[in-house]
Amino acid sequence: MSDIPEDLRFTRSHEWLRTLPDGTVEIGISDHAQRSLGDLVFVELPDIGRNLSVGEACAVVESVKAASDVYTPIAGAVVAVNSQLQQTPELINREPYAGGWLFRLRPTSSAQAVGLLSASEYQVLEAQG
């Protein structure tokens, strides 16, 4: 089982999110997700400024094997995207919880993420495959 940073929360569709000190939220895909997908080759990220609603498909990660949509677990405006991924998508394979982040949102004031899992709860889900 992989080591998961304790400050992350997870969705059942294998995204993670991390609340940064400035109140923005960073989103990526889990180690389990990157391992299932295999080598990542392309990443499509949302435009900066785009307003996303909860559960909206807003990014695509594509591996040698398959393409997969990424859904935002929280509503908000996109404030940053990880442009390094355009040239080096393998960062997601190497550092899914650090250099492989996908995008950052400023949550809308009323935004609430519901049904998120803690790191330990997610590990249980991961172990079940």
């Binding site: 295999g38 080598d39 080759v41 499509e44 040698v64 393409a67």
Partner: protein, 421 residues
């Protein structure tokens, strides 16, 4: 209730060949699918039906435990538990293009045909003509067709002597191939034998031959290195062939199953990287080689599968199964063709995506992937015969332009299609 073992015995009731039970060494009728041999007392459990039995058991090659120990991600491939990748599939791919990699291809079927009329039999069975093989050891790629011209399988046949040929067939079709062969050998005095006691390792890449030969005794190494492309030879206990499915030089080694694990480990120690089916697929696609079941099958024929070059219509008096159907198709005009595609957009072609040919019609992607060498997506598509150089492909709700190109895309490590950086 079906019993796995019984199924084999029923299915191949005409088979007179015996194998020994692995547990008590009692003789039992051989089955043609890869479940491990056990006599009635030691046979596996009962399952509701054959499909269930195969699903539960999964066929394993003699290298299965090693793959798992090496950390491979195992997947089902035609009923076999096979390694997809041991780590990064892209790195495995590059290892074969730049140095050397080893693949377990023991799931493929090795079938020996013996008898004075073996050549005559194969001339009637295969769409390519084994009479073209005049030098012992020479290999030939061919389709095996049904009466409608549909492709039952594609295979390699080695001409060893006038009375001995060796076929290497696909894993997913080996049972049905054997049944087909058994059916057609009747009355010809041609004997067939599946060499299940052999494992097959494909060692591929620019350094593959030298690194493999370094593990052989001196005389054997000399003989192996002297092999010309597309030749094979029995060298001691090993059958060494200068063939492959990657577009690189290399060997396919057929060795006694008991030697396979040690051979694999020695290859690894010599710097040959373990490679899985994932890399095998991207390598063969770059090399412009068809995959049975994706690019052609029983419902498609060679003339619409970029395999017309493998059908020997000459001499005109050679009858082979499927000939009449292909001649009729040729006379009417073949309406579809299989072409290579390059996608310059940041997206990946996948099987079954719709291909639009403006003003002409539609087609379908049969195989698609990301090409690690070209750093963009490539694929094959079956399209109308008069398709030109440009098509569009529906990729995940977008319609993207794709270029029709001549295959192979890559050969011996070098890109063969023009690519804008």
């Amino acid at each position: 209730m079906w019993e796995v073992w019984e199924y084999g015995a029923h299915c191949y009731a005409s088979c007179t060949r015996l194998e020994l039970c692995q547990v008590c060494a009692a003789g039992v009728a051989a089955v043609a699918f890869g479940l491990r041999g056990r006599c009635s007392r030691h046979r596996p459990r009962e399952w509701p039906d054959r499909a269930e039995a195969e699903r539960r058991l999964g066929r394993r090659t003699c290298l299965f435990d090693l793959h798992v120990a090496l950390g491979a991600r195992m997947v089902d491939f035609g009923g076999w538990d096979m390694p997809l990748a041991y780590g990064s599939q892209l790195e495995e791919h590059h290892a074969v293009r730049r140095a050397a990699g080893v693949f377990d291809v023991s799931h493929m079927g090795i079938i020996d045909l013996r008898g004075a009329r073996s050549g005559e039999f194969l001339r009637g069975l295969l769409a390519n003509d084994v009479a073209r093989l005049r030098v012992p050891g020479k290999a030939l790629y061919s389709c095996m067709l049904n009466e409608r011209g549909g492709v039952i399988d594609d295979l390699i046949v080695y001409y060893l002597t006038d009375e001995h040929y060796r076929l290497v067939v696909n894993a997913g079709t080996r049972d049905s191939d054997l049944k087909w062969i058994a059916q057609h050998t009747q009355g010809l005095g041609v004997e067939w034998l599946e060499r299940r006691e052999l494992a097959m390792l494909a060692v591929q890449g620019p350094q593959a031959r030298e690194l493999s030969a370094a593990l052989m005794a001196r005389d054997a190494a000399q003989a192996a290195l002297a092999l010309q492309p597309f030749f094979g030879a029995q060298i001691g206990q090993w059958f060494v062939a200068r063939t492959g499915y990657t577009g690189e030089d290399g060997f396919e080694l057929m060795v006694p199953a008991g030697e396979a694990v040690a051979l694999w480990q020695r290859l690894n120690a010599a710097g040959v990287r373990s490679c899985g089916l994932g890399a095998r697929d991207t390598l063969r696609l770059e090399a412009g080689m068809n995959l049975y079941g994706n690019d052609m099958d029983e419902h498609t024929h060679p003339l619409e599968s970029a395999l017309a070059w493998t059908v020997a219509f000459e001499p005109a008096d050679r009858h082979f199964i499927g000939r009449e159907a292909l001649e009729a198709l040729r006379a009417r005009g073949v309406t579809r063709k299989l072409v290579g595609l390059v996608l310059d957009e940041r997206a990946v072609l996948r099987s079954h995506q719709r291909v639009l040919v403006p003003g002409v019609g539609e087609g379908e992607v049969t195989s698609g992937t990301f090409s690690p060498t070209l750093a963009r997506s490539i694929g094959f598509a079956r399209v109308p015969a008069n398709t030109g150089a440009a098509v569009q492909v529906e990729v995940r709700a977008r319609t993207l332009p794709a270029r029709v190109v001549r295959v192979p895309f890559v050969r011996h490590g070098e890109p063969l299609v023009p690519i804008d950086p």
